[in-house]
């Protein structure tokens, strides 16, 4: 394998590292009064990274199989890049605040470093690379969560995340070591044939699931989610709920489909229970939330439950539906968080009751929010409908009709709380609604991108078929 091919296979990771280092150096060179330039330049730089990484590259492996790159993993990384790009577009307003002036560079660099960790994790070919990627993706996030250094909630959230994250990593590592003990290898390709439904493997597997369940926020491993989402700055919350979770779902599905394919019966049962718990508890908690970030946190827990249904379809259909769903989820959730961020920066309002009468003053933001909520609820004709329908189709292909029944019942409950937000914005009257404001250009661009995505990703069947062809090559 030539050096150039290596570089090509590692294009996402290398470009990200270069970008992060470049931003740090640029940050150092900039005089304090011109620090705000870093916002636009980082965003543009990252846009370039995103575009450059899109080059299609055939699959291959590096470092003796520790790094696996193929078209599908490349596509997953592109999705994450896209999400981070949108988040950067949305971050301008927040970072421009005075107290953030000295640490803008860190924001971008930290996010890009964690993203690199996720990319390595997705491409991992053994449990070691996987674990290192996972940790690289987790620890700096705690710093991001505590970014609002003058807010006690933010700091508290950072501490909670790092401590619980350590606990979950410990459990995860414990699980990995048991699987190593049972099979004598850390390489995925070597482990797979040795997996059987022995108590030791099941024990290891459940520890592994608990660790991943923490990242994906599956019930009962989800308790950190609401506090951390609420405490963190909106953009970081968006990052956690979309990118962090997305990456974890991708690698979780890959490992289930490849490493644990011998014990499908076992993990489908485990996922069945987790899916039911996650959807139901997530929904029940979401109903009575007034803080929009907490609300979106619980809604994203419930969404994770739906994703599990897709995973249960196994095979290329299962993989396709979850990648497709997460692509839609990027647009959808970032639209919702984008609107929440825009409103918070303009007026400091971050409660649903504060959104009352929003349509009268800020009709466009309300419309984007409504689109996003409908997409989350899975209402046609927006993309969320297609995403969710295909997740259910995936579960149906394995005959889990009762589970689908539970899921659709939950989807109906979720519609209730999404509609509560719509009701606040469109129906409820308010004497002092959030006054009219104009959000920054980058924010408007990001919301436009999200809205277009929400509208067209569903109808454009080509995207789904493309993902299908990518995952068809693998499974």
């Amino acid at each position: 394998m030539t050096g150039f091919q290596t570089v090509l296979l590692l294009r996402h990771e290398l470009l990200l590292i270069l970008a992060a280092v470049g931003i740090i150096i640029f940050d150092l060179l900039l005089p304090p009064e011109k620090k705000t330039r870093i916002i636009h330049s980082s965003t543009i730089l990252f846009g370039a990274v995103f575009l450059l990484s899109l080059i299609p590259v055939e699959s291959g492996e590096l470092f003796g199989g520790s790094f696996q790159e193929n078209r599908l993993t490349g596509f997953m990384k592109d999705i994450l890049n896209l999400a981070v790009f949108i988040i950067f577009l949305q971050s301008g307003g927040y970072l421009r605040k005075k107290e953030n002036a000295h640490k803008m560079g860190e924001y971008f660099a930290l996010i890009i470093f964690t993203l690199t960790g996720m990319d390595f994790m997705i491409s991992s070919g053994d449990f070691l690379t996987f674990f290192i990627g996972l940790e690289t993706a987790s620890i700096p996030v705690a710093g991001l969560v505590a970014y609002d250094q003058f807010k006690s909630r933010s700091a508290e959230a950072g501490v909670k995340l790092i401590l619980l994250s350590a606990l979950s990593s410990g459990v995860l590592l414990f699980g990995i070591s048991m699987i190593y003990g049972a099979t004598g290898s850390i390489y995925f390709t070597d482990i797979a044939p040795g997996i059987s439904a022995s108590p030791l493997v099941i024990l290891g597997f459940i520890f592994f699931v608990s660790g991943m369940g923490f990242k994906i926020s599956l019930v009962p491993f989800h308790l950190w989610t609401a506090d951390v989402y609420e405490g963190a700055p909106v953009n970081v919350t968006a990052y956690l709920s979309v990118v962090s979770k997305g990456a974890a779902v991708f690698i979780f599905a890959i490992i289930l489909f490849t490493v644990f394919k011998n014990i499908i019966q076992v993990w489908e049962n485990v996922l069945y229970a987790l899916a039911v718990l996650t959807m139901t508890i997530g929904n029940l908690f979401a109903i009575r939330q007034d803080n929009i970030k907490r609300f979106l946190a619980f809604s994203s827990i419930a969404q994770a439950g739906f994703i599990l249904l897709g995973i249960m379809g196994t095979g290329s259909l299962g993989m396709t539906t979850i990648v497709y769903f997460l692509l839609i989820y990027v647009f959808t959730n970032l639209a919702a968080f984008g609107v929440a961020a825009a409103i918070y920066e303009a007026s400091g309002v971050e409660t649903i009751s504060g959104y009352k009468g929003l349509y009268a003053t800020n009709p466009r933001l309300s419309l984007v929010m409504m689109l996003a909520l409908f997409s989350l609820a899975g209402i046609p004709p927006v993309a969320g409908f297609f995403g969710k329908f295909f997740l259910f189709t995936s579960a149906g292909s394995q005959g889990y009709f009762i589970l689908i029944l539970i899921a659709v019942a939950n989807a109906t409950v979720s519609l209730y709380y999404y509609l509560l937000v719509v009701k606040a914005m469109f129906i409820d009257k308010n004497d002092q609604p959030v006054s009219h404001f104009k959000s920054p250009l980058t924010m408007r661009i990001s919301l436009l991108i999200c809205s277009l995505g929400i509208f067209f990703v569903g109808f454009a069947s080509g995207i789904f078929e493309y993902i299908m062809s990518l995952s068809g090559m693998l499974f």
Binding site: V159, K160, L163, L164, L167, S168, V171, S196, A197, S198, P199, I202, L203, I206, F207, V209, S210, F214, P220, F221, L223, W224, A226, D227, Q265, V266, N269, V270, A273, I281, L284, F285, A286, I287, R288, V413, Y416
Partner: protein
């Protein structure tokens, strides 16, 4: 009563009696509605509900007069009005199945035409009451439905009913049977004639008959108390004992259950909110407890 005639059609030859009953139910709805509206028009003109306040109205209310007449002829089963056709079919059906029913229906048909024409003659002919205000025809908006319904009552009998309702079965054989139709029409005419004699001009024949028959007349005067029974049935039984409980049941039980599902969900949400305490130790505890629970469950159930 006429509806009773309709319902008795059930006893008849399988589909035929049923069809006839239905047919009559519909034509009956039509001319009853017409009578109902003409009554409204008359009350509108005379400002009174009582028949003793009316009389000789044919000059004042020409349209109401004609339309009422059409309805009356239809209900008496005089050809070619719609009632004739439907009633004829019922009688035919009854004739083939139950003779007693058949004759009863003949007689009641006669009584019907008698009482309806008694109304007709008393209101539109009879003595002319001195009205305080000169009665006048109702405005156009009231007369148009009258005319419309009158036309319908007159012509509905010609609707090719059997083709409509038996689209994939053999059409019912419903040729008018002269042996049944003729007596029926004659009886109807008899009733009309009786009413003519008694009520067309103001005279004392009714009083004399009353004296003769005594109690029977006073019972019929009160329509055998059918109005009271009718009121009792609709107001007391239908409204109070059926409709009101159903409305209550719908609001409180059925809808209550549907709303209850929502309320319970929201309440449950309220209750479990407190489980999320914000305490790190508790989170860690739940996490570890969850792991252990899962491990125990699945090793027990799924281990080989």
């Amino acid at each position: 009563m006429m509806v009773g005639l309709g319902v008795s059609g059930y006893g008849g030859e399988e589909g035929l009696g049923y069809m006839a009953g239905m047919f009559h139910l519909f034509t009956h709805a039509m001319f009853k509605a017409l009578l109902f509206l003409t009554a409204g028009s008359i009350i509108h003109a005379v400002h009174s509900n009582y028949m003793q306040d009316m009389g000789g109205l044919r000059k004042y209310l020409p349209i109401t007069h004609i339309t009422f007449l059409v309805a009356a002829l239809a209900i008496s089963g005089i050809p070619p009005f719609s009632g004739f056709f439907s009633k004829d079919e019922i009688l035919a059906a009854a004739f083939h199945s139950n003779k007693l029913l058949f004759y009863t229906e003949y007689i009641t048909a006669g009584i019907t035409s008698f009482y309806i024409f008694r109304l007709y003659f008393t209101i539109f002919w009879g003595k002319e009451t001195r009205y305080e205000h000169k009665p006048h025809e109702a405005p156009l908006n009231m007369t148009i439905p009258l005319i419309f319904l009158a036309l319908a009552s007159a012509l509905a009998g010609f609707i090719p009913f059997h083709d409509l309702v038996s689209s994939d079965m053999r059409p019912f054989d419903t040729n008018t049977d002269l042996m049944i139709a003729l007596p029926s029409v004659l009886i109807g005419l008899l009733g009309i004639a009786g009413a003519w004699i008694l009520y067309k001009k103001e005279n004392d024949i009714p009083q004399r008959i009353t004296a003769l028959l005594g109690g029977l007349y006073s019972a019929t005067y009160h329509k055998f108390y059918i109005d009271e029974i009718y009121l009792f049935v609709t107001k007391k039984i239908l409204f109070n004992l059926v409709a009101r409980p159903i409305a209550w049941f719908d609001r409180h039980i059925v809808d209550g259950f549907m709303m209850g599902m929502g309320t319970v969900t929201v309440k449950a949400s309220e209750k479990i909110r407190k489980l999320q305490s914000g305490e790190l130790q508790q989170y860690a505890f739940v996490y570890v407890a969850g792991v252990i629970l899962f491990v125990l469950t699945f090793i027990y159930y799924l281990g080989e």
